[in-house]
């Protein structure tokens, strides 16, 4: 099975590591992934308003392309995953949005939410399997105490994203275990870092970041991993003096463990 891959705009510029290490790792794991030929930006933020149709269209086009190829769509960036999944949910369940988006898009056949949107972590858990992954690790990251930073967009709203418990998720911890490191659970791993507000109100973002880092350090994390370029930027750049903590994309650690970094 070949999977379609949606990198998203940030992975092509500021978050290249997230993208490159994912590709290398999958190659090492023997999974075929093909970048969608003609993808567009997902929109960056899910338009919650029920009557916002135009701002959902770029996601709809991407989803429709994946449907035409008949392949599941792999996402990597939390925000892209969030936006594409929610738009897909709308196309499947909200007839008003579906009809209008299709009227506008004029696809050969109307798009009705057929594409299966899968996050890279889900691929690792459900297709590769964490046990298999563990067996393929050549360079286990022994002794490293890593905290998973989920952030807000990857798991919420759980009714629509639903790939792990929104309050006590385990998927990233299981991943960290599989690559040989020690996962550290800390309470603020699923609270928002304020990435969206970083552009307009650094102070508020810093407050959020500090609280997350405090919580992680209190529980004994030496480093954090994330799937979100926005969190990466915000947590690494907007913490108060002296609070900072090393944060990496999970794919970078994956590549490291598989010996393909």
């Amino acid at each position: 099975m070949i999977y379609s891959y949606y990198p998203g705009c940030t992975l092509k510029t500021k978050a290249k590591e997230l993208d490159i290490y994912a590709r290398r790792s999958l190659e090492a794991l023997g999974i075929q992934m093909e970048e969608l030929a003609d993808w567009q930006c997902c929109g960056g933020v899910y338009p919650m308003a029920k009557d916002e149709i135009a701002t959902k269209l770029s996601s709809v086009r991407t989803l429709n392309q994946a449907k035409e190829l008949g392949r599941p769509l792999i996402t990597l960036c939390s925000a892209c995953h969030h936006v594409l999944t929610l738009v897909n949910h709308d196309m499947k369940n909200d007839s008003n949005i579906r009809n209008k988006a299709n009227d506008y898009s004029k696809f050969d056949t109307p798009y009705k939410g057929e594409t299966e949107v899968i996050h890279f972590l889900q691929l690792l858990r459900d297709v590769v399997g964490f046990d298999n992954l563990k067996a393929k690790v050549t360079n286990p990251l022994k002794g490293r105490k890593i905290g998973a930073y989920y952030g807000c967009l990857l798991l919420r709203p759980s009714a629509k994203l639903a790939f792990d418990s929104p309050e006590n998720p385990t998927i990233m911890e299981d991943f960290i275990k599989a690559i040989g490191a020690t996962p550290v659970v800390y309470p603020f791993r699923n609270e928002c870092c304020g990435g969206y507000i970083a552009v307009t109100d650094k102070g508020q973002a810093t407050k959020n970041v500090d609280r997350i880092i405090d919580s992680a350090k209190y529980k004994g994390c030496d480093e954090l991993v994330t799937a979100c370029p926005l969190c990466m930027y915000n947590v690494s750049g907007n913490a108060s003096e002296g609070k900072d903590i090393s944060i990496k994309y999970f794919t970078e650690l994956l590549a490291e463990a598989l010996g393909v970094k």
Binding site: E167, N168, P187, E191, D214, S215, Y218
Partner: protein
């Protein structure tokens, strides 16, 4: 042709506001067979009933149609009324023009048209009615109570006191239920064990009560007055009759790592165990999941030390079959799992506990001997925060939409008891509303605030997390409009309660209906609160809806009085609406025999005179004592020989006809 009278009830304005009574009366008069029709304000009143009786006599009516409320409400009333003037009660039919018409249709024209159609259907049906004579069935003078908590025990004791035999079937190894786990009870703060254990002893020693513990009802057949129940008595591996409850086996058992269910897993127990000190029967039981002998065929230490040789590893489940006249469901409740509310950190922090766990921690017979300590390290807490409504009033998939009713009061009780015993502990309570309707209840709550200094905070909690050796409770204070962070040593969640998971299975087995939350439904929300709609099935305690102990005991007594009222009867009047065979049409094919869920159909060879041809044929015969009148046979019958009295094919066809007429 029958002479039919039609009476249209106004029900005050309940019907008259949206149905033009005069038009219905006028339309009824045009129907064939109708000799009189009239409207009246309240047909169910004595005046209304006497109006009907007078008309029956004056017009020599042999059929009556009442257009009024649901037959589930007053069919019995009007049928009895007919009997008073010598009219066969089954010559009365009800057209439901209230629940099915006036209450739901606001447009008077539409409502009137529909009411006329419904009246016409009832008139069409009654013209085909025939007088029916009720049969009789016997009553087995023994009751079954399912569940041995406070509800079941109270019901059993009350029935037994009235002189009837009662069996109490309890799934656990001991009776006592949830109440046995509770420390103190509100609003009097007397100890639960002090008021419950005497009742348990009374039940065990009562000559009319048999306690069947560690057992489950597997199936129930039959009907009111004569139910047949199959009860599976699970193997205890300990002889109940010889075991003295000395506890020597427990002290020798090497398998000590099973979670102690009675203490909600707060400590461990041995594989052979007596659930708690006051357990009844005070007899050990072996947990087959963890017993070394039963799982690996080693050990057997308990058997060798038992002085009365009560332990028997070869014991098998036992099947008991009994007959009962009435069955009481008292399956109780359990607190919901709060794992899904993990922002409150129950699965992540040992010091986040549920209220029932707190009961065990404060109970002198509990895992800490009644000393309130942090679960994580056994140290003395200085700040405790309670969170109410965890899962109650929650319409998401995580919780329950209803109010669990008891949490406000028990949280208040906990807060008060803690402040009383440990004045150095600060107690905070997050609440949405404090609901205290009940005698001396609000006074109790105010005492907690005014005399015991419990700090009530109007708001909810968004997150509980550990930091610097404390739990931080992040909540909102809606009065000061602040987001607050309270440092606590323990957090107690007032989890919602739900019907015990067995309730659903028990309800299906008894064909008693349950609601969308799996609470058993009562026959009438106000007027028949302890009866199930299924005759002979009664409801006691929380299986019917959330209640506290006083209400449970009151309802348990009420259920018992209904059971007693049933068991004192020697004969029950049975519905005459049963299946009947047209012997000329019956071909003896056995279709009806195969479909009948009650085994009410048998076959006889009968001499039949079929238009002059005399021959012996195999004919289906209905046993009137067994037939429940479902009518399945009448549809299965290929020749149309089977019919259901009271709901005959012709009658239903006539109703269809009347309704569809354009």
């Amino acid at each position: 042709m029958l002479k039919i009278g039609v009476f249209v009830c106004w029900c005050g304005s309940n019907i008259a506001a949206t149905v033009d009574i005069d038009q219905v009366v006028a339309a009824a008069k045009l129907q064939p067979g109708v000799v009189m029709a009239t409207g009246y304000q309240y047909m169910c009143s004595e005046n209304g009933q006497s109006l009907m009786r007078k008309a029956v006599e004056e017009y020599k009516l042999d059929g009556v149609v009442i257009c009024a409320c649901s037959p589930r409400m007053h069919e019995a009333t009007f049928r009895k009324n007919a009997q008073r003037v010598g009219l066969n009660p089954f010559m009365v039919e009800i057209a439901n023009i209230r629940e099915h018409c006036s209450w739901i249709h606001k447009d008077k024209e539409q409502g009137t048209i529909k009411a006329i159609a419904l009246a016409n259907a009832a008139i069409a049906k009654v013209s085909l009615n025939a007088p029916l004579i009720s049969g009789e069935s016997s009553v087995t003078k023994r009751a079954l109570v399912i569940g041995g908590g406070i509800a079941g025990l109270q019901t059993a004791l009350d029935i037994a006191e009235a002189g009837f035999e009662v069996d109490v079937v309890e799934r656990q190894a001991t009776i006592g239920g949830n109440m046995a786990k509770i420390d103190k009870t509100f609003p009097t703060l007397d100890c639960a064990a002090c008021i419950l254990t005497p009742k348990m002893v009374d039940a065990a020693s009562h000559e009319n009560i048999e306690l069947i513990t560690y057992s489950e009802v597997e199936s129930v057949k039959g009907f009111v007055g004569s139910f047949k129940a199959t009860i599976r008595k699970k193997a205890r591996y300990v002889n109940e009759k010889t075991c003295t409850g000395c506890g020597l086996c427990m002290s020798k058992c090497p398998s000590k790592k099973s979670k102690n269910e009675f203490n909600l897993g707060l400590d461990n127990r041995t594989s052979i165990f007596i659930p708690f000190a006051q357990a009844i029967p005070n007899v050990a039981v072996i947990d087959p999941q963890s017993c070394i002998k039963l799982t690996r065929d080693k050990c057997g230490l308990c058997q060798s030390v038992c002085e009365v040789k009560a332990i028997d590893f070869t014991m098998q489940d036992e099947i008991i079959e009994r007959e009962y006249g009435a069955i009481v469901v008292a399956t109780g409740f359990k607190p919901i799992e709060v794992d899904a509310f993990d922002e409150l950190g129950y699965t992540q922090n040992k010091d986040v506990i549920t209220s029932l766990e707190l009961e065990r921690l404060m109970n002198a017979a509990g895992p800490t001997g009644g000393k309130l300590v942090k679960v994580s390290d056994g140290s003395h807490p200085t700040d405790i925060t309670f969170i109410q409504c965890v899962g109650s009033r929650d319409c998401t998939s995580r919780g329950k939409e209803y109010c669990s009713k008891i949490c406000c009061m028990y949280t208040c009780k906990h807060a008060m008891l803690i402040r009383d015993k440990y004045p150095d502990i600060n107690v905070n309570v997050f609440y949405i509303d404090v609901r205290t309707p009940g005698k001396n209840y609000d006074e109790f709550y105010r005492r907690a605030v005014e005399d015991f200094g419990v700090n009530y905070i109007k708001g909810q909690v968004g997150k509980v997390y550990a930091e610097d050796g404390k739990l931080i409770v992040q909540g909102s204070d809606l009065i000061t409009n602040e987001q607050i962070f309270i440092k606590s040593d323990m957090v107690v969640l007032a989890s919602a309660i739900e019907p015990d998971p067995s309730a659903k299975k028990v309800a299906s087995m008894l064909t008693a209906s349950i609601d969308t939350n799996n609470f058993l439904t009562e026959a009438h929300a106000k007027l028949r609160p302890v009866e199930s709609p299924t005759a002979g099935i009664f409801l006691s305690g929380v299986c019917q809806g959330p209640k506290d102990i006083p209400e449970t005991v009151a309802q348990a007594g009420a259920a018992a009085s209904k059971v007693i009222g049933l068991l004192v009867k020697n004969k029950l009047v049975t519905s005459p609406c049963i299946a009947t065979t047209d012997e000329l049409l019956c071909s003896g094919c056995s279709n009806c025999f195969n479909i009948c869920p009650y085994g009410a159909i048998g076959y006889e060879d009968k001499l039949i005179n079929d238009h002059g041809i005399r021959e012996t044929r195999r004919i289906a015969v209905v046993n009137p004592a067994l037939c429940q009148g479902c009518g399945a046979c009448s549809v299965a019958c290929p020749s149309g020989a089977m019919d259901l009295l009271g709901y005959t094919n012709k009658q239903i066809m006539a109703e269809v006809d009347a309704i569809c007429k354009r």
